[in-house]
Each structure stands twice: as structure tokens, then as C-alpha cells.
């Protein structure tokens, strides 16, 4: 029955694609579908990290700011003349480090809820991004760096390949490895997980580090695509990533959620924005529609659970 959980969002995605194909002649073209995938790639990576956190019944408000900080860090390293590999390494390291801070504040300092620790790093990371860049965008990055965000292999954009590969790895991680299964167990019942011998603190730190790392990866794609590391990158992106995870069928109470559901959630948001852009619908309406879709997707899930409960009794 697990696949049923993703049926709601998947159905919504298909309905949206059909509707938009009817209403805009430009929508269902190879060019545009790749366009949607590329536009969704940053949110998809942030949402994947967010998913891990939400499975543990946590929340990561800092991913958007980590994205901004990493974008500035990688752009500055490149501008300082460091090699691309070193710069990318620094970018990922910064992301993972802020993630580690989130995890450490939660498990070592025992802050009561990840909302607090990540709210703190959200502010700190954004502030640091503005400080080290002086508030200015750092643009004109080396062409050989920009392949990560801007180029394509035959017709498939590189960011899309990155997303698919990373999602596949995390699918294996979550479903086939012991650490991955532990993450679900912690979200299901942290105390029970602890007493059954799972090193809960260590796993939680890893989860937040991975979330930060993925935000760093997203920064590489974004800076490549925009040819610039700008300190305001990813403002509000944490909310988009949470929306994608929730639309994708994960539960805020932890223990539930899949990698592919989240991908569907991120794509659904990308399809909506792109489709409404093609129809010349104002950006203000887009936010209304996305809000409505969040309610719709979660309500479907509530209905499903009610039906299943009835069947059981």
C-alpha cells in the first residue's frame, strides 16, 4: 500500500500536465519539459535534504540561507583564482559545516527543537553571505565552472543529470542501508529508536549535515546557471523546499516520506510555475495556486488514511 501515498501527488502532477498541455501550445514540448526540470533542480536538491530532516520529525529552515552563503563562498573562491575543484570543495564544506552546526545545536547543546537551531543558522548564514560579499553579487565566473549549472549533455541539462543521480543515491541510502532505515526509525519514535540501540544523536547530526551539503550542491547549480554568486540567493527557498516535501507525501510528524514522492512534489511546483508563466498569469496568482495545491495534496492524504482506517475496523 506504500505506493498509494505517492498516488495523490503523482495524480496532481499528471492532471496539471494534461491541463497545461491543453491550454498552452508551448507547454508539452521537449524544450519546455527540460526547461521545467532545470528550473526545478535547485528546489529538488533543497527538498531532498529537507525530506531527510522531516523524516526525523525535524525541520530545516536554514537551507535557503546556506544556499546563499555557499553561492557567495564558491564565487569568491573562484574569483580568488582557486581551482574549480577546490572551490566546489569549499562550497560543499561550508554547506556541510552549517548543517553540522544545526545538528550539534540540536543534539549536543540540546536546544529543544530544530526549528530554533535552524532559525538561528538561517539568520547567521544569510548575514555572513551579505558580510563577506559586501552585499554585492559576485559575477562573471569561469566558463569551465559554469558547466555544472548551464550546459547540457546532448539535450539533457547537467543539473537534471545531477538531480537524478543524487536522488537515486539517496533512494538507495534511505531504503537499503542501515543508517537510512535508522532515520525512519528515529522519526517514527525517537525514544524507542534510542532504546533499540540506534545512535540517534549521531544519525541526526548526519541528517542535518546532508541537508547542508545538498544546499551547497544546489548553490553550485544556481551560480553556474546565473553566472553569479549573489548573497540574496535562495531567499524564501526553505519554504519552497518544505512545500515540495509535504506535497510529495511526507508527514510532518516524522517516519514517513519517500525520495521519489519529494521529486514529484518539486516537479509539481516547477510545472505550476512554468505553466502559469507560459499562460502569462501574474506571479502573485502563482503563490495562491501553490498554496491551494499544498492543501489539496495533504487533504488527499487525510482522506486516504480515513478510508484505510474504515477498512481496517
Amino acid at each position: 500500500m506504500k505506493w498509494l501515498r505517492q498516488l495523490g501527488p503523482l495524480l496532481a502532477l499528471i492532471v496539471m500536465i494534461v491541463l497545461l498541455s491543453i491550454s498552452s501550445p508551448y507547454f508539452f514540448t521537449v524544450d519546455n519539459l527540460l526547461n521545467i526540470f532545470r528550473q526545478s533542480s535547485v528546489n529538488a536538491l533543497l527538498a531532498l535534504g529537507q525530506l531527510l530532516v522531516i523524516i526525523t520529525a525535524g525541520i530545516d529552515l536554514s537551507v535557503g540561507s546556506i544556499l546563499g552563503l555557499c553561492a557567495v563562498a564558491v564565487a569568491l573562491s573562484l574569483k580568488a583564482g582557486w581551482s574549480i575543484i577546490v572551490s566546489i570543495f569549499i562550497c560543499l564544506l561550508v554547506g556541510a559545516f552549517v548543517g553540522w552546526l544545526n545538528g550539534a545545536m540540536l543534539t549536543k547543546m540540546k536546544l529543544p527543537h530544530p526549528f530554533i537551531s535552524t532559525l538561528a543558522t538561517m539568520n547567521v548564514a544569510r548575514g555572513l553571505a551579505l558580510i563577506i560579499s559586501g552585499g554585492f553579487p559576485i559575477s562573471d565566473l569561469p566558463a569551465s565552472y559554469r558547466i555544472w549549472g548551464a550546459s547540457s549533455v546532448s539535450i539533457i541539462p547537467v543539473p537534471v543529470i545531477i538531480v537524478v543521480v543524487v536522488y537515486f543515491i539517496f533512494h538507495i541510502f534511505l531504503t537499503k542501508t542501515i543508517s537510512g532505515r535508522d532515520i525512519y526509525a528515529i522519526g517514527g519514535n525517537k525514544v524507542a529508536a534510542y532504546y533499540s540501540g540506534i545512535p540517534t544523536d549521531r544519525r541526526l547530526v548526519v541528517v542535518y549535515m546532508l541537508s547542508g551539503l545538498l544546499a551547497g550542491l544546489a548553490a553550485i547549480i544556481l551560480t553556474g546557471r546565473m553566472n553569479s554568486g549573489f548573497p540574496l540567493a535562495g531567499m524564501g527557498a526553505e519554504l519552497d523546499s518544505i512545500a515540495a516535501v509535504i506535497i510529495g507525501g511526507a508527514s510532518f510528524f516524522g517516519g514517513v516520506g519517500t525520495v521519489w514522492g519529494t521529486l514529484v512534489g518539486a516537479l509539481l511546483m516547477g510545472v505550476l510555475r512554468n505553466g502559469l508563466n507560459l499562460l502569462d498569469v501574474s506571479a502573485y496568482w502563482q503563490t495562491v495556486v501553490i498554496g491551494a495545491v499544498i492543501v489539496w495534496a495533504v487533504y488527499m492524504d487525510v482522506l486516504r488514511q480515513r478510508v484505510m482506517k474504515k477498512k481496517r475496523s
Binding site: 491550454s23 528550473q39 546557471r225 546565473m226 553569479s228 531567499m235 510555475r273 501574474s282 506571479a283
Partner: protein, 308 residues
């Protein structure tokens, strides 16, 4: 029962989307502004739409991200419009460097690109339609020098760093100040063209620099936010405050004596001129690389003459 409801919702959705049929004939001009959240952008939109009424074979759509800082959202909108193969694009870029990869795509597909309000450093842009911001900044600087008799301490509140419009306004302003060595710029802070942020920034400036004589603020929304802070500190009328844009609210503030002066832009004309130039470009006719939409300085002396 439940199935019926789902069916109903789907039917409504079909209706909504079905109404937005796209016509392929004639010229389609897309104008993508930084936002639509202020009178400035609304007037620009109005100017473009009014101009388009004269041309039955041309259609204009004015689109924007939700906030000026949403650069990636603007890039997405731009890419989507390019995919639709519109006849010509007019852009007011949220980020002058970040937008260029998207503009390259437009060039690859032979879509003419113009800029409005804010220019970009990109070899293929056909024309820049807008205020001469450097000149506007200079006007503001000269006015402030005169109002302060060439002596005093001032603050500058500016838009997002790196955006050429604000760089030019600040640059022109500072250039004018070179003539007045006794005027000291105490603070230069960004408030991202956002009203609420400008209120906070101004409050902080007034607290840390109590002996301030004047302020230059590079957009209306920020000026109006800053005025709230000035009023709250009961300093209204005591500071020389010069703004930029001159929308209706700012004009009213000049009449009331809260805002000393404002450099006026003409967003309605920007919308109109950019549409007309884009239509020409779409038809393959030559256009001027620089279309000035006019600048003027408004204070209590001339406000009734310029804005009756």
C-alpha cells in the same frame, strides 16, 4: 459523492485554464519588470498597455517576480517567455549579471531584447529605455548642496548593491558632492528598495547619527518608509530629504513638506516608449540605442506646476 467533488474541481480547473487561449498571430511583446508591487511598476505597465491599444495586431503582457530580490524567479519567467518565442522582450533586470545567460538564449533564438529602467552590460541589447539615472543622481546632489548651503552631514539609503540603476544614482550624487568638500557622507546603507526595510535602516541611522542634516534615498518606496522613521523621531521638516521616482505618494509628501524634494522619473513614458521601440524591433525596423524618458526635480516650489 467524493468522486463528484473531485470531478467538479477538475471541471472548474479546465474552465479556468481553457479561458487562457493563446493567439499566435500578430506581434507578442513581453515586458518583464522587477516587480509589480509599487506605483512605479504599475504606471510602467499602464503606459505599455495603453500604447498597445493603438495596435490591433500587437499584444503586450507585463510580468514580474513577486519581489525585486527574486532574481531566480525573474530568470525563470524570462526563460519561459523565450520558449514561447515572443516577438520581442523588454526587461528591467533584477540582477544585471544574473540575467545575462537567459538573454543569451533569447539572442540564440533571434528574439530582440531591450532594457527598461535598468540597463545591462550585454552587447546584443538593442536599446535602453529609461531615465538617465546618473544625471538624476547629480540633480539630487546639487539640490542637496544648495539646500544645506554646502555644509553638513548626510546619509544615503540605496537599493540592492550591484544594480546599475542604484549604482548610477549614487554615483551621480557623489559626483555632484565633489563640489562641496564640507558635506560629509556619514552612512551609506542598502534597503533593497523595500519600504519596511528602509524604515528600520532610517531608524538606526537616526539613532546612531543624531546630528544628521540630510538624506538621499534612491527610490520612492524606501523614501516613504524612511519618512515614517523621521516622523516618529519628530524630525519632520528639519532634515533635507531628497528622494527618487516621484510617484503620487511621494508627490503628496512633497506637498506636505515631509519630503524636501524628489527626482522625478516618468514610468508611464518608460512603458509606452519601451513598447513602441520593442514593436519596431520586432518588425525589424531600426531603433535608437538610448531612449531617454526624462528627468526633473520636484520640490515645494514647483510641485503644483509640474503635478497640478
Amino acid at each position: 459523492m467524493k468522486i463528484n467533488k473531485i470531478f467538479l474541481v477538475t471541471a472548474i480547473l479546465f474552465f479556468i485554464f481553457g479561458c487562457n487561449t493563446v493567439s499566435n498571430d500578430g506581434y507578442r511583446i513581453s515586458i518583464i519588470t522587477k516587480a509589480l508591487d509599487s506605483e512605479f511598476w504599475q504606471k510602467l505597465k499602464q503606459g505599455a498597455e495603453d500604447a498597445a491599444k493603438e495596435f490591433p495586431n500587437a499584444k503586450v503582457s507585463v510580468l514580474a517576480p513577486t519581489r525585486e530580490i527574486n532574481i531566480d524567479q525573474q530568470v525563470n519567467i524570462l526563460e519561459d517567455q523565450i520558449l514561447k518565442r515572443v516577438s520581442a522582450l523588454v526587461v528591467a533586470p533584477c540582477g544585471v549579471a544574473e540575467i545575462i545567460p537567459a538573454l543569451d538564449k533569447a539572442y540564440d533564438r533571434n528574439i530582440p531584447v531591450l532594457t527598461v529602467d535598468t540597463d545591462v552590460d550585454w552587447p546584443h541589447r538593442l536599446s535602453y529605455v529609461g531615465t538617465n539615472n546618473r544625471l538624476g543622481g547629480k540633480l539630487a546632489g546639487e539640490y542637496l548642496i544648495k539646500a544645506l548651503n554646502g555644509k553638513g552631514k548626510i546619509a544615503i539609503i540605496r537599493g540592492i548593491p550591484g544594480v546599475q540603476t542604484h549604482e548610477d544614482r549614487v554615483g551621480g550624487f557623489l559626483e555632484a558632492l565633489n563640489a562641496a568638500p564640507d558635506i560629509e557622507v556619514g552612512v551609506l546603507q542598502p534597503a533593497n528598495s523595500e519600504r519596511d526595510l528602509a524604515l528600520t535602516v532610517m531608524e538606526n541611522i537616526l539613532t546612531s547619527h543624531p546630528n544628521l542634516d540630510g538624506v538621499f534615498i534612491t527610490s520612492d518606496q524606501m523614501a516613504l518608509g524612511a519618512l515614517e522613521a523621521v516622523d516618529a523621531h519628530r524630525l519632520s521638516g528639519e532634515l533635507v530629504i531628497v528622494g527618487f521616482d516621484a510617484g503620487e505618494e511621494a508627490i503628496k509628501a512633497v506637498r506636505e513638506g515631509r519630503l524636501t524634494a524628489v527626482v522625478a522619473q516618468n514610468p508611464y513614458n518608460m512603458g509606452k516608449q519601451s513598447f513602441l521601440a520593442a514593436l519596431k524591433a520586432a518588425k525589424g525596423e531600426p531603433i535608437e540605442p538610448r531612449i531617454d524618458t526624462g528627468t526633473a526635480l520636484i520640490d515645494i516650489e514647483n510641485v503644483d506646476r509640474i503635478n497640478p
